[in-house]
């Protein structure tokens, strides 16, 4: 007698599963319109004080103090680039980090994981939806920021987008590991909140890292994302970079080569642990 399986597993079926997971997340996003709108406008409430803070320090010749640190007196473009990239960091920490946890809390994680697809595809689907939603939010935020504050981009946007590929892949690879770690915790809100904010600060999303105290600076320099922020600003604004841009891109590619497989392996290890202990339905 021949064993037949109800599901025909193939690359196409995997692709369909990934798209179905991404679609589910997109529907979730649209179902809470007020929440969706606030995700576009909320960053502006953090950016506006920076705009006025800059005005407080501006002399007749503009922000010369800031220019002495960065090589550019356009502090608002500096902040906006940081805010754009910080959007992705927040999306990885909150979106990816909490993706599995939320399913666990709603009680659907165990049943979803019983479906005959590799578990990692859940995270791939969530990554695709998360990247699309974050890109939409970030572009909308930039548009409104341009209307409110105005900003100027002088550099090569195509090169910048190319640099963003290893940066985002590395970030989402890290997200795989983070999502799995969050799954093992009962109360993860504070960890996610503080980690997200601290990483954003240390990588220089809100200020040039050269102003950090000497004992904090090495931590900041040890984070590969710092070089991503720095390289993109260097390309788009012509700011003084920490290292030559090609070195910074090399660091990002190396980071990507470590975090993508590393994140996957950590996820697999925690998945096996959850299967062994039967913790998937607990919260």
């Amino acid at each position: 007698m021949m064993n037949t399986q109800l599901s025909q597993i193939s690359w196409r079926s995997y692709g369909r599963a990934v798209l179905a997971i991404a679609k589910k997340d997109a529907i979730h996003f649209i179902r809470y319109p007020l929440q969706a709108v606030s995700r576009i406008f909320e960053p502006l409430t953090w950016l506006t004080p920076f705009y006025f803070l800059g005005k407080t320090f501006a002399g007749p010749e503009g922000n010369s103090g800031f220019a002495a640190y960065t090589g550019s007196n356009d502090y608002m473009t500096f902040i906006l680039i940081g805010a754009l990239l910080a959007n992705y960091i927040a999306a990885v920490f909150w979106g990816m980090g909490f993706a599995l946890k939320q399913e666990m809390d709603s009680g659907v994680l165990e049943t979803n994981w019983m479906t005959p697809i590799p578990r990692s595809l859940f995270l791939v689907g969530q990554t695709i939806a998360n990247m699309c939603i974050t890109t939409f939010n970030a572009c909308s935020m930039l548009f409104f920021a341009w209307l409110l504050f105005g900003f100027q981009i002088q550099g090569n946007v195509i090169y910048t987008l190319l640099i963003m590929i290893p940066l985002l892949l590395a970030l989402y690879g890290f997200g795989f590991a983070f999502a799995a770690i969050v799954l093992t915790m009962r109360e993860a809100n504070m960890l996610v909140d503080v980690s997200n904010y601290t990483i954003s600060l240390l990588t220089g999303s809100q200020f040039p890292i050269s102003v950090l105290p000497r004992y904090v600076l090495p931590i900041s320099l040890a984070l590969p994302l710092t070089y991503g922020f720095d390289a993109i600003r260097g390309l788009l604004m012509g700011t003084t970079t920490l290292l030559p841009i090609e070195y910074e891109v090399g660091i990002l590619i190396l980071f990507m080569l470590i975090t993508v497989p590393g994140g996957y392996l950590i996820f697999k290890a925690i998945e096996r642990r959850a299967q062994r202990l039967g913790t998937l339905s607990m919260h």
Binding site: P49, L53, G59
Partner: protein, 285 residues
């Protein structure tokens, strides 16, 4: 003769109020990560603005003169920290008040609690009692932490005046909190409402910058927000040698807000209660 099983008196109302406070205290203790969060955020939150201010002032501090011309001080760290402490207090109150009744609604316990033969305001005030105590404790810890980490002295030369401003600020913050709880009960989406209200305070009240740099129309809006006065007066008391007579006009406005906002908050709560009874929306979420 109809006789109620419950003998309502001032003592029974007080007992109910304290029981609600006790329940909130237990919930707080059961989620201890909040304790860590309240220790970390006062130090972490202003970091972005402080280091940006450092970058804007330049390596030699050359741009500090422009800052001083507008604020009267070169101590940008204390300037930002005073604003951010008050804003964080407001933010925490909005979250706590907004979520207090909403969480009961989500858990499905609000309607049954509402049926208890007690003054309804106890449900809100009882929880707030614990939150007031905790926020006061957080405030004191923040002052100590900021002293140790940033070396900032947040006591000033006139502690009496400082305590009076803090008292007025507390009345204002909790008045807004009560009004906010009623709004959340009606509109449900607490997160979006918190983002909106705290965003308005963040932009208009000069949390990290002097409101003098705002355009005229924004400054007019700021003058209608009580947090603007509370932040400005706290800065004046802590960073300058201001006298009581110089602060009097602002203090009168703050006192007005401190009387009006709790009354408005309670009024809105009563209105929300009546609407909820008519529409039966207490059990909906």
């Amino acid at each position: 003769m109809v006789q109620s099983i419950v003998q309502r008196s001032a003592v029974s109302e007080l007992r109910a109020l304290l029981m609600i406070a006790k329940k909130e205290w237990f919930i707080f203790l059961r989620y201890p990560s909040w304790i860590i969060a309240s220790l970390i955020w006062p130090v972490l939150f202003p970091v972005g603005y402080i280091f940006m201010a450092k970058a804007l002032s330049g390596p030699e501090g050359t741009s500090l003169t422009d800052f001083q011309a507008l604020t009267g001080t070169t101590d940008y760290r204390s300037f930002i920290i005073i604003g951010s402490i008050l804003w964080m207090w407001m933010n925490a109150t909005l979250w706590n008040s907004g979520m207090q009744l909403r969480e009961e609604q989500m858990r499905g316990t609000l309607e049954s609690n509402w049926l208890c033969p007690i003054w309804r305001g106890s449900l809100l005030v009882g929880g707030s009692l614990v939150k007031v105590l905790l926020s006061m404790a957080t405030l004191v810890i923040s002052v100590i932490e900021l002293r140790i980490i940033y070396g900032i002295q947040l006591v000033g030369s006139n502690p009496g005046l400082l305590i009076f401003i803090l008292f007025l600020a507390m009345m204002i913050v909790y008045g807004i909190g009560m009004a906010f709880a009623s709004l959340v009960l009606r509109f449900k989406e607490a997160n979006a409402l918190v983002f909106l209200v705290r965003g308005i305070f963040m932009i208009f009240c000069g949390v990290s910058f002097p409101i003098e740099v705002l355009p005229d129309w924004m400054r007019s809006v700021a003058m209608w927000l009580p947090l603007t006065y509370a932040i400005r007066d706290m800065r004046l008391v802590l960073l300058t040698d201001v006298t009581l007579s110089q602060l009097l006009p602002d203090l009168l406005i703050l006192t007005g807000f401190a009387i009006f906002l709790p009354l408005l908050g309670y009024g809105m709560f009563v209105l929300a209660e009546r609407t909820a009874r008519r529409t039966g929306e207490l059990a909906r979420y």
